[in-house]
Symmetry: C2
Subunit: 192 residues, 2 copies
């Protein structure tokens, strides 16, 4: 694990996804790993931090999450836009070597056994809160964030520093069909 | 209503919020209007388009939505970051003249009776899908988008044009405590 990856206190973990980036969701069950792209990931609560993700029934990663009850949300960078598009369009059901083809290197955080994607800017370990009705009806999963980390080259002191970090660290925000926007300029409502 | 506001076909309405902007949620019941800022708004489905919003029990707007079963999600612009912060921090419970104080001008779309905020870039009329358990447990509201509009100076041809529109049209993405990022550069995963 690279030495820039630092724990983020749970009280501030929500800030990692509050600005609405497209994320990667990874999971593991019985030795099978998978990663998918998810545009529909959203904060839900602060204390304890919770979030929601929408996982289509055709997604293989969903089956790993239903079996294991856990997943990782990670924030891909501007440099990973191709990787993000690839894991969002390939399926492990059709392409057994998906992660090799999509060039997705995985690692584990210390003391954790979940697959994390290298090169992202932030990672949130999540535990599914079982809500069978909304899972089935809307493909909506509710989860509690149990641990979080970020790369201190872009997130430190409890906040993002996209405005001073190298541009390659910017988060990406999917609109449709592989078209994204990178995050831009910082703006403080109190000083405008 | 300004002549730049054009209907958006429902099949593409999700694109208005897919990139994760902070939104304004407005509602009306028995002659009372209110508007709040919501960072936790997220796509849920394409056809028919659905979305989720998280509405705290302390929010007066929530009581209007519970009574009327309807609300409008609108996408504020870079120019509206002060307004967005104001409606996110003032409460109608404590400040009966909130909308006057926060300088929030309202209008109605043709054929609709819902309050819309002037000057935004997009508007989605939403009908609550009653899900009492997640509303109560998580403050999570599921809704179907029944109509959508956008200002054609920044959204036309079924897509955002932040990269060519005037910078004042950029969406804003809240992190915490009045700190936002504006949306930035366009990036196409297929051509990188």
């Amino acid at each position: 694990m690279n030495s820039h990856i630092k724990p983020v206190e749970l009280a501030k973990a929500g800030r990692l996804v509050n600005h609405g980036p497209t994320v990667l969701v990874s999971a593991r069950h019985q030795g099978v790993d998978n990663v998918m792209a998810v545009a529909w990931c959203c904060g839900l609560d602060f204390d304890p931090p919770k979030l929601t993700v929408v996982l289509d029934k055709i997604a293989h990663t969903r089956s790993l999450i239903e079996a294991s009850g856990a997943f990782v949300v990670q924030v891909p960078t501007f440099e990973q836009v191709g990787l993000t598009d690839n894991v969002g369009t390939l399926s492990l059901y059709e392409e057994p070597n998906k992660l090799t083809h999509a060039k997705v290197p995985l690692f584990e955080m210390p003391g954790q056994t979940m697959p994390c994607v290298e090169g992202c800017s932030a990672w949130l370990a999540c535990k599914v809160i079982n809500e069978p009705h909304v899972q089935e009806e809307y493909d909506l999963f509710v989860a509690e964030v149990t641990a979080a980390w970020a790369d201190d080259r872009v997130f430190h002191g409890g906040r993002w520093h996209f405005e001073t970090a190298e541009p390659k660290w910017r988060s990406i925000h999917h609109v449709a069909g592989g078209h994204f926007y990178a995050i831009g300029e910082a703006v403080d409502a109190k000083t405008r």
